[in-house]
Symmetry: C2
Subunit: 359 residues, 2 copies
Amino acid sequence: MAIVKLVNSVKSLSKPSKQQSHRSTIGDVAREAGVSKTTISRYLSGQFDSISEQTRKRIEQTIADLKYRPNRMARGLKRDRSFSIGMIVADITNPFSTSILRGVEDVCTKHGYSLMVCNTDNDPVKEKEYIMMLQAHRIDGLIINSTGHNNEYLHELAEEQTPVVLVDRKMPELGFDTVVTNNVQATTEAMRFFLQQGYERIAFFTQPVEKVSSRNERSNTFHQFLAQANHPSITDVYVVDFRENGQLEQKLEAYLSSSQGQFRLLFAVNGVMQLKILNVLQQKGLRIPEDIAVACFDDLDWAPVIPPGITTIAQPTYEIGVNAMERVLKRIMGDQSPAETIELPGKLIIRGSTPSKTK
Amino acid sequence: MAIVKLVNSVKSLSKPSKQQSHRSTIGDVAREAGVSKTTISRYLSGQFDSISEQTRKRIEQTIADLKYRPNRMARGLKRDRSFSIGMIVADITNPFSTSILRGVEDVCTKHGYSLMVCNTDNDPVKEKEYIMMLQAHRIDGLIINSTGHNNEYLHELAEEQTPVVLVDRKMPELGFDTVVTNNVQATTEAMRFFLQQGYERIAFFTQPVEKVSSRNERSNTFHQFLAQANHPSITDVYVVDFRENGQLEQKLEAYLSSSQGQFRLLFAVNGVMQLKILNVLQQKGLRIPEDIAVACFDDLDWAPVIPPGITTIAQPTYEIGVNAMERVLKRIMGDQSPAETIELPGKLIIRGSTPSKTK
DNA sequence: TTGTATGCGTTATCAT
DNA sequence: ATGATAACGCATACAA
């Protein structure tokens, strides 16, 4: 294992102004209310049975007067829990991520936890640094859709009994709870519909699969479904790396010319891919659905608006977030049952971009 | 001021499993490396001058062996700084917010700070709770686009010397640093272009202005510009509250029928509004730009894709985030200069949705 | 170059 | 029903 040089990274140590105004502490409240710190602490943790009505009210008032806010760092240090949850997403600008985030957030706050959100840009190095940072904060749980290149550090977290829950991307080798869209079901459902509509050629466009299980499952299901149906498009899986300039245009051109004149469909692995594809199609002056049909994963807000309405597979993103966080909570409460993988169904939303042939 | 009942909200106090594996502390490292805790602490804060080459290496190795991670809560408690920044956004699912967030994040991590992200759904109550929560975490700074209904609590933060920086929405009465799009410039630029294109009727569609300065500035500039130009559309400002069902359809209909046959344009206050408008227009079977032209604030990823390409005003979101966080950093370093309002220019991006009349 | 002792704000233990 | 005291992990003032 690499030696991690652990040096405090706050460069600005030099001279942060220490002009600390009087922020009141539990001691201040105690003095002001004429009781001991212990009693205040009891009040703070809701042990009202052990406090007389009178003093309870006095404490309440004093806290308001002093604008006292319990210090979570002190509390966390003492109790060995931070009351914070870490969330690491691959791309925070992707609505898919933020929707999951919303689910996580709602459950978090309902239970008094705070959320530290980190964005890796799919960069394993950034991911590693964030994991370490969250570890330093002593997060009580982590929710992550991982690049798949930091198993060592994730494992380390788990060894410290910090619950880790994976979302969107499975990593079976780690034995973590996992919450994902049921990609097999969703893809199958969509494919069945496509064949029903009479498409003679269907192409699946995906980003490099790498360690991203969702892409992998979608590609595989696409392939296997067509194989089973003995459909001519079996090999029409196109892998596009956006970092390679012009690759999308090139592969798109390859498919388009090879399927000239056929009743054809472009199926995109996610919303990002779909948008890029539509961009190119528009530049080429191709009309949807007259010249080519399209569909994709992710039912984003533009899907109904782009004429004639884009057929999509809505992923249960919010629910994924809720489930993931609830899972974390269970583990925090001490649940030691074996790790589970929860697969939530996707929903096919049919719009104008995928007409049937007879029509 | 209302009495805030301050009771620990972690419901799950009951029996969190205390099966704490051995997480090593500074003491463990010290013992293992055969030096004092002080020396380890020196290492951690980068005071290498005061450590011999030999012991430095030994410490390095020991830290790696023990997988030691300094406890930020302990450090924060001692130093009275949490190394965390709070960020409160009105709607995390809005790409506008996440783009700002990206800017904040980059500056944060570059300087060793962590980010706690909170989402209010434009709900003042949620906002209040988040402010208090962040306060409890003793955040070193706060970046917020506020609902405008929690001045009291924001002020409280400021009194404790916690820097607060406003983004997107100004609140002059608070005297905080503020970073926003230059809405006057951006709107003016767009309007000038629209008139140049020869539009006879222009409608501005906005959500209720309330305390949201950006909406206010855009509406006002729209109005004043037309007044100055003595343009017939002076009164065409439509306020739509999405919570009122059918209101958008109704107001849209009003404008459409009143402008029948004229060379006309719909100008939306932001991307969310634009998408909803496009939805209705499509249902009505209106073509863009033949039947009506459209344009909006926010250059989101769908803008170039929706035929014939939507004309937009790109806001410098990422830069807003960067500037805001740099502002926070300055204040943390003790800068006491008067609060500034930074206005970053918006950029008009012309696409097919706003053709000129002669064309 | 290194170490000792004290305290940050809170909770837990053990008292009364 | 209430309090005194120790301890959480770390940084700092002061010694050596």
